[in-house]
C-alpha cells in the first residue's frame, strides 16, 4: 500500500494470483523443463532466460503441513489454521488447507484456489481437498 492507501500491485505475483482465482493457473517453465513461480527473469535452477507460462496441474498432493496455533497479527482472527506445502510435480506451492488438521495427511489430494484472510481481507492461496 502507498501512503495514501492506494494499492500497488506486485508485478508477477499478483498476476499469478489473478490467474489462480480465475481457474487458469500457471507456473513458469524454462527451456530445460525446470518449474518455478513468478516473478522470475531467469530460471533459478539453470539461469535460462527462456521462460514460458505453463498450466499448473489441477491438483497436487500435500508434501508437508502444520496447524498454526500462534499466528502473526495479520492472521489473528484466522488462527488456528493449517498451512501446507503442496507438490504439483514441476513446482510446489504454499497455502492454507481448508480442512481440520485431523483430516490432513501427507499425500492428501488438493486443488488450489484464492481466498481472503478473515483478519484483514487479504488474498491468499488456499487448498480444497478433492
Amino acid at each position: 500500500m502507498t501512503e495514501d492507501g492506494e494499492s500497488v500491485r506486485d508485478a508477477g505475483f499478483d498476476e499469478f494470483l489473478d490467474a489462480l482465482a480465475e481457474g487458469d493457473s500457471y507456473y513458469v517453465e524454462c527451456a530445460n523443463g525446470h518449474g518455478s513461480l513468478p516473478p522470475r527473469r531467469v530460471c533459478p535452477e539453470c539461469g535460462s532466460a527462456d521462460l514460458a507460462e505453463t498450466p499448473l496441474p489441477e491438483s497436487g498432493e500435500v508434501a508437508t503441513y502444520t496447524k498454526v496455533h500462534v499466528p502473526a497479527p495479520s492472521f489473528a482472527d484466522d488462527a488456528p489454521y493449517v498451512t501446507a506445502v503442496v507438490d504439483f510435480g514441476p513446482v510446489r506451492l504454499t497455502g492454507q488447507v481448508l480442512a481440520d488438521v485431523e483430516d490432513v495427511e501427507i499425500g492428501l489430494k488438493v486443488e488450489p484456489v484464492v481466498s481472503e484472510t478473515e483478519t484483514r481481507g487479504e488474498r491468499l492461496v488456499v487448498f480444497e481437498p478433492r
Binding site: F13, T64, K67, V68, P73, T83, G95, V101
Partner: protein
C-alpha cells in the same frame, strides 16, 4: 595464510532487557571481549556486526557506526544481515580478512533487541526471514515453517514429539550453571510434552524464547598474538557458508538442511578435519527439530539418526559428543543477531577450559559452531581448535 586466533570473548546475560538498546548491550559484550583479549582499543581495525530486526524493533538502520561507537573504537564498521545467521556471516568475513592479511585485530559480534516488541510483534518480525510473497502471505510463521520441516522429517525418518522433548530437556540442563543463559532451570520431558501447541508438532518447549542480548569476539592474527604475547590458545581453523532456496516450497526435501551440509563440508576441508574429529558442538537449535537437522548436516549423525541423539544420551553433558553445553538457543536464548558469535564465544571458553561446563569436555580439542538463517536458506559453520601456545 595466517592463522586466526580468538583472543577474547564477551557475552551479555541473555534474557529480558526490554529497556536496554542493542547498542548498549553490544557495548557491554564488546568491552568484555576486548578486556578478555588484552588488546589495545586503538589496535582494533574493524567492527563486523550482526543484527537482524533493528528496523522493526528499534527503528534503526545503518547500525555499523553505532556498533563501533559503542566500543569506543575509530574504525570502519559494517552491519551484516542474514536473519538468524547475521553475526555468523559477520564473523566469517572477519576471519577471512585476518587470514588475507587485511587486518591484525578485528571485532566480530552482534546484538538484538526483541523483548520490547509484543509477542505478536516479534512473531511478525521473525516471520520476515521467510519468503514474503509465497510464505508469509499464506500465514506461515517462523515456528510454522520449522513445524512443516518436523512433519516431513517424522514422515520420512520417523521420530516423535518425545524424541524432540529430550533435546529441550538436555539443553535446559546444560544452561543451569551458565550465567549468560536466559533459562537457568531444568525442565522435564512431561512438561515439554504438556506445554501449549504453537504449530503442530512443535509446542512451546520446542521453541527458543524471545531474547535480548549481545556477544562479541576479538580476532587477531597469529603474528599479532605472538608480538603482543597474548594468551590466545584457540584458533578458528575452518569457515564455511552454504545457501539454499529461500522458500521451503522450492527445496527438494524439507527434512534436511543441505545449506548447512555445504557449509560444514567447506569448513571441515578448510580446517583439515572430519566430523569424526569433533569433540564438542554448538548448533542452531531455534527449535528442537533444528538441532536434529544440524547434527545430521554436520555429519555428526547419519541422516535420520539425529532424532534420538539426545534421548540416547550421546549429545548430553556426559555423552560422547556433548552438544549445546551453553544451553543452546533453546535455554540460553536467541537474540537473533547475537547468536552466531555467542556460539563461538562459548566454544572458545569450552576449549580454553574456563567455561562453567568445561569440566564435561576436559580433553576437547576440536569444536564446531553451526549458525543457521531462516529455515536454513543461509548457514555458516566454523571449526575451532585448541592450538599449542
Amino acid at each position: 595464510m595466517t592463522k586466526v586466533r580468538v583472543a577474547g570473548a564477551g557475552i551479555t546475560k541473555f534474557g529480558r532487557h526490554p529497556e536496554r538498546t542493542s547498542r548498549d548491550l553490544f557495548a557491554e559484550a564488546g568491552a568484555t571481549a576486548i578486556k578478555d583479549a588484552g588488546v589495545a582499543r586503538d589496535d582494533v581495525e574493524g567492527v563486523y556486526y550482526g543484527n537482524f530486526m533493528g528496523e522493526l524493533s528499534e527503528h534503526q538502520g545503518h547500525q555499523g557506526p553505532l556498533a563501533a561507537e559503542a566500543l569506543g573504537v575509530h574504525a570502519p564498521a559494517t552491519r551484516y544481515e542474514s536473519a538468524c545467521a547475521s553475526s555468523g556471516v559477520a564473523l566469517r568475513q572477519a576471519v577471512r580478512d585476518v587470514r588475507n592479511g587485511e587486518a591484525d585485530v578485528l571485532v566480530a559480534g552482534g546484538s538484538e533487541r526483541m523483548t520490547n516488541l509484543s509477542t505478536a510483534g516479534s512473531t511478525e518480525a521473525l516471520a520476515i526471514a521467510a519468503d514474503e510473497l509465497y510464505e508469509v502471505r499464506a500465514g506461515v510463521t517462523f515456528p510454522g515453517a520449522y513445524a512443516m520441516m518436523a512433519t516431513a522429517y517424522f514422515e520420512q525418518f520417523g521420530g516423535t514429539r518425545e524424541d524432540l522433548a529430550h533435546v529441550a530437556v538436555k539443553n535446559h540442563a546444560n544452561a543451569v550453571d551458565n550465567d549468560h543463559a536466559q533459562y537457568q532451570r531444568e525442565i522435564t520431558v512431561e512438561a515439554a510434552l504438556d506445554s501449549p501447541a504453537v504449530a503442530d508438532p512443535l509446542h512451546l518447549y520446542d521453541a527458543c524464547p524471545v531474547t535480548d542480548g549481545a556477544s562479541a569476539v576479538v580476532l587477531v592474527s597469529e603474528a599479532y598474538a605472538e608480538a603482543h604475547d597474548l594468551d590466545a590458545g584457540v584458533a578458528i581453523t575452518g569457515t564455511g557458508q552454504g545457501g539454499d532456496r529461500m522458500a521451503l516450497q522450492d527445496r527438494e526435501n524439507v527434512a534436511t538442511s543441505p545449506a548447512a551440509t555445504e557449509a560444514a563440508e567447506e569448513a571441515y576441508a578448510d580446517a583439515g578435519v572430519t566430523a569424526d574429529d569433533v569433540d564438542v558442538a554448538e548448533v542452531h537449535d531455534c527449535f528442537t527439530i533444528a538441532e536434529v537437522l544440524a547434527l545430521e548436516s554436520l555429519g555428526l549423525f547419519e541422516t535420520g539418526e539425529g532424532i534420538t541423539a539426545a534421548r540416547d544420551g550421546i549429545t548430553t553433558q556426559d555423552g560422547d559428543l556433548p552438544v549445546n553445553l551453553s544451553g543452546g538457543l533453546k535455554a540460553k536464548g536467541h537474540p537473533v543477531g547475537a547468536t552466531g558469535t555467542s556460539q563461538v564465544a562459548e566454544l572458545t571458553k569450552l576449549l580454553r577450559g574456563d567455561h562453567v561446563n568445561s569440566e564435561h569436555v576436559p580433553e576437547a580439542r576440536v569444536g564446531v559452531a553451526h549458525n543457521a538463517g531462516g529455515t536454513v536458506a543461509s548457514a555458516v559453520v566454523h571449526v575451532l581448535e585448541e592450538v599449542a601456545e
